[in-house]
């Protein structure tokens, strides 16, 4: 019985991380059909937000409530990742709707840019970037009006941006001479996010020992699920999002601002990635490559669950969680100690984390051969769209 609880809890613990990480992707991929390879990097932004919040709370007037910094980090991470996602939608993804291959490549490129951004961002870099953007936006307005109507107006537009970029780069490298401004904010090294003391221990519930960090993540996941469910089912914008998912042109005819709906969906999905980023700082390392550790698992969960179904995402994540725990820890041997020698050896062979991962992947692939649309396939007319 203890073993059952143990398995359920550990499976739930592994699964809840997967649910939280994949939830944002389920919204973006499921409702909008956008394959966002930068999802992991949006998680990373959330994790870095946690780091910044933690440092703000370490010194100064907020020192007294340091243990609560994580609660402040959650909404802030939602905001930072959400806004980054919004910017991404407005600048890149909006131009690529309905072209999944291009979206995949473009968002992968964005993920590399974001990784390098956190590695090299410094005050000088940010000043250069802001000046370049401001110059690029303002300069065209300073030109004599009639120029805008000329044949070569587009050339001038490009030239303005090129010059603005050059000035930005020059400024950044010029300021780079000043040591204070040149200091990278995070650098390429992994950063240290320390969980508050109340999230570092564990509690005994009956015979099972549960780390509080895991309980916190499970609670956070439940909360995020309830919030997303309420948002999509009950709120006005949620209903509009679902309407657009079902039939875009009809929604447009009925006066739903589809572009705003797209932007909002992406913002919510990205924001959820940020929240997941806060959660994973409790478990592992935080560095520029953090996203890469999760992105494959996220897609696996969403695809296995059935694209567009939140329930599918949850069931798939928990299923994978329990399965990888049972295989990886070899606990089948404990349940049935007298099993035949051949089977025994097989289970021992797969009872390491690396082999468990291989086996789980293989099982998912086999499953998708029989049910290509996942556990909970979409039904009805939207399938044709």
């Amino acid at each position: 019985m203890d073993l059952l609880y143990d398995t359920l809890f550990n499976g739930l613990a592994i699964g809840s991380v997967l649910v939280l990480a994949a939830l944002g992707l389920a919204v973006v991929f499921g409702l909008m059909g956008v394959i966002n390879m930068a999802h992991g990097e949006l998680m990373m932004l959330g994790a870095y937000t946690t780091f910044v919040v933690q440092n703000l709370f370490k010194n100064g007037p907020l020192q007294g409530i340091f243990p609560l910094y994580i609660l402040v980090a959650i909404p802030l991470a939602f905001l930072v990742s959400g806004l980054a996602g919004l910017l991404l939608e407005k600048t890149v993804i909006r131009r690529l709707y309905g072209r999944p291959l291009e979206t995949l490549l473009a968002t992968w490129g964005v993920s590399l840019i974001l990784q390098q951004f956190v590695r090299s961002v410094s005050s000088a870099f940010v000043i250069g970037l802001l000046v370049a953007v401001a110059l690029g936006l303002v300069a065209p307005r300073l030109l004599p009006r009639p120029w805008g109507q000329r044949r070569w107006a587009p050339v001038l537009g490009v030239a303005t941006w090129v010059i603005a970029g050059l000035v930005g780069i020059a400024l950044a490298s010029g300021l780079g001479g000043v040591r204070v401004l040149d200091q990278p904010w995070f650098s390429a090294r992994n950063i240290d996010v320390t969980a508050p003391v109340w999230l570092r221990g564990s509690v005994d519930l009956g015979a099972v020992n549960m780390p509080t960090a895991r309980l916190f993540i499970i609670a956070l996941t439940a909360l995020a699920l309830v919030a997303v469910h309420w948002f999509l089912q009950k709120s006005v914008w949620g209903i509009r999002i679902r309407a657009v998912t079902q039939n875009r042109s009809m929604s447009d005819c009925l006066g739903i601002p589809t572009e705003t709906v797209d932007a909002l969906t992406f913002l919510v999905g990205s924001g959820l990635a940020g929240v997941a980023g806060v959660a994973v700082t409790l478990l592992g390392s935080v560095g520029p490559n953090l996203g890469g550790n999760y992105i494959v698992d996220c897609f696996m969960v969403v695809v296995l669950g059935g694209v567009g179904k939140l329930l599918g995402t949850v069931v798939a994540a928990l299923g994978i969680g329990v399965l990888s725990y049972v295989i990886g820890s070899g606990s089948l041997l404990l349940v049935w100690p007298a099993m035949p020698a051949g089977l025994n050896e097989l289970i021992t062979f797969f009872a390491t984390t690396s082999m468990a991962k291989v086996l789980v992947f293989a099982l998912v692939v086999v499953f998708l051969q029989f049910r290509p649309a996942g556990l909970f396939p979409q039904k009805g007319r939207m399938v044709e769209a």
Partner: protein, 425 residues
């Protein structure tokens, strides 16, 4: 109008160009009074997963080169040669290491290459150096079972790190061992050796697990450790990179800590990694190395002082940085002894060369390894090690004597025989 537009664009371009010139100018160093130059290759991952660790090693090598140049360079054939480093990025990608090694040898014609960190990168470069009969200096502790004519190993062989550490654990901490490692060549080979050693000395392996590089989900491992060692015991950790952070954070949460009777010994965690993981998770765990920043000798203090002065006060020195620093000096000393920078002559002269390294006086042995100081330390609150045991200098053994396949074999490059790399003693 058209002209005005041109003037606007041209003017702004000129401003931008002059700004960037101002930014890039300056810093041209006056060339000292050298009689010539000798190019050396520096080949580490400056990008990708391994960059965090390998940057420090490359920095230590560059520091050694600067110091040697400041003292007048390498004196060969009556000429003072300035060492000019040619840097390449291995990008944490093993085939890239092989490709860049080829480029350094063929195109840049370097006298020697300092490079590599993971065993996978070394194994990728090995065929290149053997085919071109060139020379690689490799600075990291590794799994042994290799002794190439074309590689010089300045890091520890297993008998200078893993074996004494396991002996120490057996004597002081217990007989039941749980082995955890990353899933690649170093941890697998190191654990194979450890299992043989434990079998020979009355220890017992109660469990073993491997995590894919970069994996952060360790719940199944923790469950297995609790199953196998419910009342505490010894855990030997050969995880590399990011997985360590996840491992220690979750172990602490699950109560597998030194306070609860678990002795945790890590082979890939030095001062640099402690800072990244967070000392509060590692306090009380053990590590075995050949150098700690806390080593209290004048040479060690001098090394740390210079490193901080050059790269910033918040930086720390560590065993890999020290090994990288020492191997540049050993190469320079060998070149002066050979009176040539030709890699074949340097190779002959290298054996027997000594250097007063931060860890103490080290001497190159006939098997292309170095006699090294063996230290066992415990992580303190401030992220430094307290040295618990100093086992003195230990001679390197390349072919492991616990593993049946290599028992009785040795390596001696002073002997003139075709199988000098591996022959029966």
């Amino acid at each position: 109008m058209r002209k005005a537009a041109f003037r606007y664009v041209a003017g702004a371009t000129a401003v931008a160009a002059s700004l960037s010139l101002v930014a890039c100018g300056g810093g041209e160093q006056a060339s000292g009074d050298f009689d010539g130059e000798v190019k050396v290759g520096i080949l580490h991952s400056r990008s990708g997963t391994m960059a965090i660790s390998e940057n420090t090693v490359a920095e230590a090598e560059l520091m050694a080169i600067d110091e040697i140049n400041a003292k007048g360079g390498v004196l060969v054939d009556g000429k003072k040669l300035k060492i000019v480093p040619v840097e390449e990025d291995g990008a944490s990608d093993w085939p890239t290491f092989a490709e860049k090694a080829k480029k350094l040898i063929d195109q840049d014609q370097v006298a020697v290459v300092f490079g590599g960190w993971t065993s996978a990168s070394r194994k990728a470069m090995l065929p290149v150096f053997e085919a071109k009969d060139h020379f690689l200096f490799y600075p990291i502790q590794y799994e042994g079972q290799e002794c190439s004519k074309n590689i010089f190993y300045s890091g520890a062989a297993p008998n200078q790190q893993a074996e004494p550490a396991v002996d120490w654990l057996l004597q002081n901490k217990g007989k039941d061992f749980f082995l955890v490692g990353s899933d690649y060549v170093y941890p697998r080979t190191a654990n194979t050796i450890m299992k043989e050693q434990l079998k020979a000395n009355g220890g017992k392996v109660v469990g073993e697990d491997y995590l894919p590089l970069g994996n952060t989900e360790v719940a199944p491992i923790i469950a297995k450790i609790k199953q196998a060692l419910p009342k505490g015991g010894v855990i030997v950790n050969t995880l590399n990179g990011d997985s360590n952070v996840a491992f220690f954070k979750q172990m602490k949460a699950a109560g597998i800590t030194p306070a609860n009777g678990y002795s945790i010994m890590s082979f890939s965690i030095a001062e640099e990694e402690i800072a990244a993981i967070g000392p509060e998770y590692l306090e009380g765990t053990y590590a075995a190395w050949n150098y700690f920043q806390s080593l209290d000798t004048p040479a060690s203090k001098e090394f740390t002082k210079n490193f901080k002065a050059k790269y910033g006060d918040s930086r720390v020195t560590s065993d890999p940085a020290e090994a990288a620093y020492m191997m540049v000096y050993l190469w320079a000393a060998a070149a002066e002894k050979a009176n040539s920078v030709d890699d074949n002559k340097v190779r002959e002269a290298l054996i027997g060369v000594s250097f007063d390294a931060p860890e103490g006086k080290v001497t190159v042995q006939p098997n292309h390894h170095v006699e090294k100081l063996v230290l066992i330390g415990e992580v303190q609150k401030d992220g430094m090690f307290k040295i618990l045991e100093n086992k003195g200098f230990v001679k390197p053994v390349a072919w492991n004597q616990y593993v049946p396949e290599t028992k009785g074999f040795t390596c001696d490059w002073t002997q003139n025989r075709p199988d000098a790399g591996k022959f029966k003693m």
